[in-house]
């Protein structure tokens, strides 16, 4: 299925995807404890910059939103805001078991359990916490998806905005956020 998609790309799309793949600006937002492995991933032994991965300070410039671990409901609100401020094409990497099914926080009243109900996730990296090798392998997975043109979850988010909004509003009781019209 994926190979079909690759053949369908026009030459412009192919070049665009190729450049996107080799230049991933990662949002510098340490949402959870996984943020501790990001410095290690960026520095000498693991050096993610050789894959073109580097940090971006603001959502406007970022391509990848790395959710480093559990999301408290208070953070979820900010994460949604950050995600909506990012410019297309944008990707989300869920980092750690707690983004997948809650992990060890499954019974906590303040952390969400499944990240992809609230924002679309392209790649999950499991483990608590994932080693830098796993993080890089997650990024490589994302690069593969981008090259194949299958990393288009941001478009799905817009299509199914109502479903996502309903899920989000179920948790965030006081919804005081500007509505973005893309």
């Amino acid at each position: 299925m994926t190979s079909n998609n690759k053949d369908k790309q026009t030459i412009v799309e192919y070049i665009q995807n190729w450049s996107r793949k080799h230049s991933l600006f990662v949002m510098a937002y340490g949402t959870g404890c996984g943020a501790i492995e990001i410095p290690a991933t960026m520095t000498s032994r693991y050096d993610a910059e050789r894959f073109g991965i580097r940090g971006a300070a603001t959502p406007r410039q970022a391509d990848v939103l790395l959710i480093t671990g559990y999301l408290a409901t208070k953070t979820l609100k900010r994460v949604i805001r950050v995600y909506e401020q990012m410019q297309d094409p944008k990707y989300v990497i869920g980092f750690g078991s707690c983004t997948i099914n809650g992990g060890m926080y499954y019974d906590s009243y303040n952390t969400i359990n499944a990240l992809d109900r609230y924002i679309p996730v392209d790649v999950y990296i499991n483990g608590c916490m994932p080693r830098p090798e796993a993080v890089i392998s997650g990024f490589v997975q994302l690069q593969k998806q981008i090259a194949e043109g299958t990393a288009n979850n941001a478009a799905k988010y817009k299509e199914n905005l109502e479903w996502y909004r309903a899920n989000q509003k179920k948790i965030i009781k006081n919804w005081r956020m500007p509505d973005y019209n893309w």
């Binding site: 404890c33 943020a35 501790i36 000498s44 408290a72 060890m104 303040n110």
Partner: protein
């Protein structure tokens, strides 16, 4: 008096300069901070609630996540509290291994601090080097405990397993390497005039108020007050080891940096001594089946020195197989909220992140 126009500047939660996931609301006139308000809760995971639902041993998976940069003091403090409740003996070898683990944890946290302190001032070289070299310490941890970041290695009654074969030599070798590298970081960071200019006279904690404000750890020692849990109420094998607790006068970022620089050296010194003096013998005083393990009713308050300051655990047991209450007082709980709100006004915006790093603000242990 003409009131200048105030701008509200949100430092965080998404901001490269914030140490973790928290927010500081700054009121600014010009370049000067007028008022600072810390907002926490972005990492609130209800740990203390979850612990009420876990049994005494399951709690360890939660404990180490209280503060991510330095998880081991949490395990140790809790283990000591449980030992105090149970009157459980700890073999001497385990005490030495615990000391080594604690100091390794401190050392790797110091190396992260090097990165934070210099990185927030725009000097990325030290940070890149030290975080890269930190991996060697994490390798030691991995061989010893099986985990890079979270170890769950210290248990009530000792440690989970003995030192692996050849670990001692590897550790000594790593210490030699790290000691050599620390010199290089210090040359780049502390001998740098610009860093000195940035750090001196910034973020001053007054000496006469420091203890009353609840300042602990390196910020307190930076004001010239010699307070360290390791000498005030010795635990593990610290009373059998010979080390210096450095103090500096001034209470500014520079003094705190000097204190931490010397402490990193002392950590290496302690690890070497402990490795040498460690006796042979048992490493673990076995606990009963964790599912049925009950701890006698009572309460305990134990303190441990971490990089950021003292970590206190208030543990209450009602005699069942689950803790009644585990309340954590992390160093950042006072250093990072009230003290920060007191010392930030009057500072330049450029120094806010710099001061945050030197105070050791660690959000996960504030809101838990």
């Amino acid at each position: 008096m003409v009131r200048e126009k105030e701008t509200t500047l949100y430092l965080g939660p998404q901001h490269p300069g914030i140490t973790g996931n928290m927010m500081i609301k700054l009121k600014v006139t010009g370049d000067t901070v007028v008022r600072a308000e810390t907002h926490v809760g972005y990492l609130h995971r209800a740990f203390e609630k979850l612990i009420e639902r876990r049994n005494w041993l399951q709690t360890f998976t939660i404990l180490c996540r209280f503060c991510v940069p330095e998880p081991d003091p949490m395990e140790l403090t809790y283990a000591r509290a449980v030992e105090e409740l149970e009157n459980r003996e700890v073999p001497e070898r385990a005490e030495y291994i615990r000391t080594i683990v604690m100091e390794l944890a401190r050392l790797q946290s110091f190396m992260l601090w090097y990165a934070g302190q210099s990185g927030s001032a725009g000097l990325y070289l030290t940070g890149q080097w030290s975080v890269g070299d930190r991996n060697y310490i994490l390798d030691l941890f991995e061989e010893l405990t099986g985990g890079r970041i979270y170890h769950m290695y210290i248990w009530p009654g000792g440690v989970r397993r003995d030192l692996p074969k050849g670990w001692k030599d590897k550790a000594l070798k790593t210490m030699d390497y790290i000691e050599k590298r620390l010199d290089e970081y210090n040359k780049i960071m502390f001998d740098n005039t610009i860093f000195q200019k940035r750090a001196q006279g910034v973020g001053i904690v007054p000496k006469d108020k420091a203890i009353e404000w609840g300042v602990v750890g390196a910020p307190l020692r930076g004001t010239g007050i010699k307070h360290d849990v390791r000498i005030d109420e010795p635990y593990c094998a610290y009373d059998k080891l010979d080390f210096i607790v450095p103090t500096q006068e001034g209470g500014d970022v520079w003094a705190r940096a000097l204190v931490r620089q010397e402490e990193a050296r002392q950590s290496i010194n302690i690890i070497r001594q402990a490795l040498e003096k460690m006796p042979e013998g048992e490493f673990y005083n076995k606990v009963p089946n964790p599912m049925k393990w009950t701890v006698p009713a009572g309460e305990a308050w134990t303190k441990t020195e971490s990089v950021r300051g003292e970590v206190g655990f208030y543990v209450v047991s009602d005699g069942s197989n689950k803790p009644r209450r585990v309340h954590v007082k992390g160093a950042a709980y006072t250093n990072g909220i009230t003290v920060l709100e007191k010392i930030l006004p009057g500072q330049n915006i450029a120094d806010v992140s710099f001061i945050l790093n030197s105070m050791g603000v660690c959000p996960p242990e504030m809101e838990r």
